[in-house]
């Protein structure tokens, strides 16, 4: 059986785990983007990239746009590939910071390792999604008019209250007070 839910169905593929991963990457994109826009100076300092604050903030805008694309689109695949491209750009930019006598080289190395890790995840996610999207599920059938009540539900609701439940199928008499709503009878003893 194909494992489908309302959410994955809309996306046109059937794998919930990859779907969740894509959403996660979308949220990560937005969070990173906000950090890059909010604190470009601190980031530039930490990476020894003084003077490149504008570039960092620009990358932040890119991250946020990609994140929104992933979360809002019906098919996140192209946006995840967009993240892969962005990762490449990030790595290239960080590589320039390794040149010369940058005292923060250690930090840059850590950042590059982190980006490389994310890149692997992005590539995996994009590839899995691409493999699935060429075979989208057929559009969902619409059964919202299949009520089963020729005269409408109002007319049928309770129409069989005339039915007398056979004795062997009735709730045990002793249970009835518990399953029926409490009619205010005797006041409850105070605890």
């Amino acid at each position: 059986m194909r494992y489908e839910t309302e959410r994955t169905r809309r996306r046109g593929h059937a794998d919930t785990a990859t779907d969740t991963l894509a959403r996660g990457l979308g949220i990560f994109s937005i969070a990173l983007g906000i950090a890059e826009i909010a604190a470009p100076r601190a980031l530039a300092r930490a990476l020894g990239m003084k003077g490149q604050e504008g570039l960092i903030a620009g990358y932040g805008v890119r991250e946020i746009a990609t994140g929104i694309g992933i979360l809002a689109s019906k098919d996140p695949t192209p946006w995840i590939w967009g993240r892969v491209a962005g990762d490449g750009l990030d790595l290239a930019t960080l590589a320039t910071a390794l040149e010369g006598r940058n005292p923060k080289k250690g930090n840059v190395g850590i950042a590059m390792a982190a980006v490389a890790g994310m890149t692997a995840l992005d590539v995996y996610c994009a590839q899995t999604l691409s493999r699935e999207t060429p075979h989208p599920l057929p559009p969902m059938q619409d059964y919202s008019d299949r009520t089963g009540y020729p005269g409408g539900i109002e007319q049928s609701h309770g129409a069989a209250r005339d039915f007398e439940v056979p004795r062997d199928f009735r709730a045990p008499e002793a249970m009835r007070p518990y399953t029926q709503p409490q009619t205010p009878q005797r006041p409850m003893p105070s605890m």
Binding site: M1, R2, Y3, E4, T5, E6, R7, R9, D15, T16, P138, M140, Q141, D142, Y143, S144, D145, R146, T147, G148, Y149, P150, G151, I153, Q155, S156, H157, G158, A159, A160, R161, F163, V165, P166, F169, R170, A171, P172, M175, Y178, T179, Q180, P181
Partner: protein
């Protein structure tokens, strides 16, 4: 004639087989005009239910026209009568039949001694449903031999299409009995696990019987869609916590009445395209199936009722009987006593309270039957109920 014949696991073929003959004076022969594939048939398709032999004819939801009547059934049936055939074969005379407990008729299972070994006592003979219940050839065929035909039939009037009547054979009375077993009060919340054909009928029955609130639980979007059309609030168990949602919808008290319309089969589906899915399903077979019963016992309001039309075959693991006992729950279950309800239900169809044909999503010829088994089992193409026209 043509018939859908079981050859082995997931191997059902449309074969040419000999026409059935009158074998006993109480028999009748029906020319089948419509028949359907049931969720119960999937247990056999996947060979989850033991007791099938290669060459057995499938099918237990059948209707048609009487073309031949044995001498002893002549008073009750005549050639040309239009009949729906209940899936339970009944004698109409034994102690159980007299009480209306038709699905445990003491006489119609010709392999009663095997059933007694498995269950302690025999149960009724069933059409197209293993040698444990008599090994009677089924009705997914051009003709059907009906044993004990003087009792085993529901006469239906002309002028109403097959589609509205066919499900009197099984799923409509099954959904109905599931709801009746709940002894529904106007203040009740009825929670129904499984929005397959049986669940859909249970939803409508609970609405007819006047439940305050009906909640359906499944994960197949089209089935949830159809459940909502029937007036149910839906829970997708893939995306939400069933227990949390049910408590939310009942002010933390849990539903008074719980119906298991899933049974042993749903997660037993076999072949799938991806290895990944296969592994996932294999694990579900272990965990999810007892999970439905467990969930019901756990979430049900104290002094409430568990109604179980879903079919189980043998022994179940880790049922929280402590919750059942201490909360004082009532359990009602069983194969459906079809003929006990059908006069009343036929009247409700005629009066327009309900039209059971809403559930049909596919209508095909008998030769397409084998393909439809797979599509129904895999819930592809929005498939909910398949009708075959021999």
């Amino acid at each position: 004639m043509k018939a859908l014949v079981w050859h082995g696991t997931t191997d059902i073929r449309c074969d040419s087989v000999p026409d059935p003959q009158i074998e006993h004076p109480r028999d009748a022969i029906i020319k089948v005009t419509s028949c359907a594939i049931c969720g119960s048939d999937l247990h056999l398709y996947d060979h989850f239910m033991p007791g099938m032999k290669s060459g057995d004819i499938m099918g237990h939801e059948t209707m048609g026209e009487v073309v031949e009547v044995g001498a002893e059934s002549k008073g009750k049936l005549k050639v040309g009568d239009r009949v729906v055939i209940p899936f339970t074969i009944i004698c109409g005379e034994c102690d159980q039949c007299k009480r209306g407990n038709f699905s445990v008729c003491e006489r119609t299972n010709r392999n009663g001694h095997i059933a007694a070994k498995a269950f302690g006592h025999t149960t009724a003979g069933l059409f197209g449903y293993t040698h444990l219940t008599g090994g009677y050839p089924g009705g997914q065929a051009e003709y059907l031999r009906v044993p004990f035909a003087d009792a085993t039939h529901i006469k239906v009037p002309n002028g109403i299409p097959d589609e509205k009547l066919l499900f009197l054979s099984d799923i409509f009375p099954t959904g109905w009995q599931a709801a009746v077993q709940c002894d529904i009060e106007p203040t009740d919340t009825v929670a129904i696990w499984g929005a397959g054909p049986v669940g859909q009928m249970a939803i409508r029955s609970a609405i007819l019987l006047g439940a305050k609130q009906v909640i359906a639980i499944d994960r197949v979007p089209e089935r949830l869609d159809m459940a909502r059309a029937g007036g149910a609030i839906t829970i997708n168990f893939d995306e939400e916590s069933v227990i949390e949602r049910l408590n939310e919808l009942t002010n933390g008290k849990g539903p008074e009445k719980c119906i298991d319309a899933v049974g042993m089969e749903a997660h037993a589906a076999g072949t799938v395209d991806a290895m990944y899915d296969r592994v996932k399903q294999a694990t579900m077979m272990e965990t999810d199936r007892p999970h439905v019963l467990r969930e019901m016992a756990y979430v049900c309001r104290p002094a409430g009722t568990l109604s179980i039309p879903g079919v189980y075959g043998g022994l179940l693991d880790k049922i929280p009987f402590g919750a059942i006992m201490n909360k004082g729950l009532t359990i009602r279950t069983g194969q459906t006593h079809v003929n006990r309800w059908t006069d009343d239900l036929l009247r409700r169809i005629e009066e327009g309270q309900i039209d059971p044909s809403f559930v049909i999503t596919h209508t095909v010829g008998l030769n397409e039957g084998p393909d439809m088994y797979k599509i129904f089992r895999d819930k592809q193409d929005g498939c909910i109920k398949v009708v075959l026209k021999p």
